[in-house]
Symmetry: C2
Subunit: 387 residues, 2 copies
């Protein structure tokens, strides 16, 4: 290998991905691949909202740059949606269209954190959030969402833990509900208490609500409803409408702040892909809600069936199950078990990607069609029992 | 406006965009809008490579996530292209597909700079590069590409200036050739000298070569040819094939380094849009080169005609003219003249976006069809003469 200058400290700190190594093993295994480690859907985007439905002749500038903040018609449709969903008057100027929710979270944190700043992150967390903060030289302060000792007064205990984690360097609270990976839906009373705490301590709230359309139990409470003056509400079409590959999401900001997030996203990917924006706009005009209405009950049913097979509680929302494998580990480290599963074509995401969970794994129950998912989870339980 | 916590220092340092203010004036002017301030093309993407040509039924996973590093078939086609163009053996593993060249430059600098590090940037520069570095808390050290005093020994003088700008904190040299905004093409001897200097001082070379397909005079020299062990070569389909709205570019890295850039881009926009990657792949299979062959002579001719109207040298490459307006300013600051032009529907990009150029402006001669561009530049010269 040739000599070359040093790399950034971000790169030195970022762990090499275990995912691709596991994938290579699974692909070489000879078994049918069941890639349940990534969040995705087996369903195609709704008809009328696919790439082939976007005609150059009809959409001027389809392959040209979009305005950095987003296509005007999409901004307007999203403002209307946010007004309804958050119960807060929203204008086009409050909305920034972004390269997925990933781009939206990057733009938000880029606008509010400085090196050395701290952000409170509830665990288990969405795996990329700590890397996004590390890239900004900020620090994720981890607070467990739920402890075994919480029973009976979980909400009060959580708020106390968040308060105890807050320091002079804390600038924001990152709230991901409905939650990836646990599927937990924070109830409105808890979201209210957490946003009140943020207000009392002068913190921003960054609310990652990508799974809001897939809630099977309880009630989703948008943080922006309770604290519109300090909440950045981050959303995505990836999960909602089966458009993860399009890379289109959005952020609703407190009044006057979109222009600041726009400066960050401008320097990251310039503007959100134009075709993705028109596809999202079409989905918002009816087909998207129809897709969710048809899909959510199917997701819920397959999630419940997988949970039954695994002997764990059913998911409250989303597309994932997060469960403890310690009973099946014996003396082995988790990675050995995950390699063993990969050697039988089964891929799960390792618990440590989501926080301090050395014996957990995450399974996506929507990446494959229901019957294939259930067959794969059946194989998984056989392998776990067989050791 | 409600009280809220502070913003990041990046945001405090980033200037509010003068572009949107000028655009609003131009749109309100009642004149036909000539938006010559942004780099874009009036041509649609080549037939066969448009969104409507990408069929769900034919392309599995068209709306699903792509692998973070890019679609395997596209990586392979790009490796072949880089092998030929750079004269250096290239494998798929050396290539990262990115959200445009903007995403590629972000991934590259994210992997190599730390807060306080310095990067040498030749002026005039592509406007977003200083913001990308500022977002990483690194510093752009500006070195003029050409000074009036250089005449006759310009290359030696430039290398001396670069040497003089180098400090203990310098980690990289950013080379943008063919250059945006000047259209200048650095000749192979100069690129060789600059890469040799980088090697001597142990610097990375980040070579932004987005305009490589549109060279009208001189010879484009890819920096990676001279210093493959330290050069990140950044490319884009935006300009080459009229696909700016798709957001697809790529970076070719020294051996073993792609995985590091991949960690940064993963945290920025997850993966490049899937449809954009398939559109690029189709373009690389013939239609792209045909598009360039048909388009480059048209661009060259309209660039020359605009230069003649403005009384400045013809462009050597690309889609821009960068010229000094001081003879037309009198006592006015540049912005007053640009506002005067906007009030007649004409938009130019202000010189200060490109470095210390208080009386320059940039004009894109490919944003509108040739006849409309020439009409707009005719109006521009009338207004300049009329004051």
């Amino acid at each position: 290998m040739p000599e070359h200058p040093r790399l950034s400290t971000f790169i030195e700190a970022a762990a090499a991905s275990v995912f691709s190594r596991l994938r290579n093993r699974a692909e070489a295994s000879g078994y049918e691949l069941a890639a349940l480690h990534l969040g995705d859907t087996y369903k195609d985007a709704p008809e009328g909202c696919r790439m082939q439905d976007l005609l150059s002749e009809e959409i001027e500038g389809l392959h040209r740059y979009s305005p950095v903040e987003g296509q005007p018609a999409l901004l307007s449709a999203l403002a209307e949606r946010a007004t309804l969903r958050h119960g807060r008057q929203t204008t086009s100027g409050d909305v920034l269209v972004t390269g997925g929710a990933t781009g939206g979270l990057g733009a938000t944190f880029g606008a509010i954190v400085d090196p050395g700043d701290e952000v409170i992150v509830l665990t288990p967390y969405w795996p990329l959030i700590t890397g996004i903060l590390r890239g900004l030289h900020a620090r994720a302060v981890l607070v467990p969402l739920l402890l075994a000792s919480d029973e009976g007064h979980a909400d009060a205990a959580l708020v106390s833990r968040v308060e105890a984690a807050c320091t002079d360097r804390t600038v924001a609270l990152y709230l991901n509900t409905p939650n990836n990976p646990t599927g937990r839906v924070l109830d409105p009373g808890l979201v209210l208490r957490l946003t009140e705490f943020a207000r009392r301590r002068g913190l921003w709230v960054v609310a990652d609500e990508c799974y809001e359309d897939y809630v099977y139990a309880g009630q989703h409470a948008p943080a922006r409803h309770f604290a519109p003056e300090r909440t950045f509400s981050v959303h995505s079409f990836s999960k909602a409408f089966g458009m993860a590959g399009n890379r289109c999401g959005y952020v609703v900001s407190p009044p006057g702040l979109t222009e600041h997030l726009r400066k960050v996203s401008l320097h990251t990917f310039y503007a959100t892909p134009t075709a993705a924006q028109f596809a999202a706009l079409r989905a918002l005009d009816g087909p998207g809600d129809a897709f969710v209405a048809a899909t959510a009950p199917v997701y819920a049913e397959v999630g419940r069936a997988c949970a039954r097979l695994l002997g764990i509680p059913p998911p409250e929302s989303g597309t994932f199950l997060f469960f403890d494998l310690s009973a099946h580990l014996g003396q082995r480290p988790l990675i050995h078990l995950l390699e063993h599963l990969a050697d039988h074509g089964l891929l799960l995401a390792p618990g440590p990607s989501f926080g301090p969970y050395p014996s957990h794994a995450r399974l996506c129950f929507t990446a494959l069609p229901p019957e294939r998912t259930l067959a794969a989870v059946g194989r998984l339980t056989d392998l776990l029992v067989g050791g």
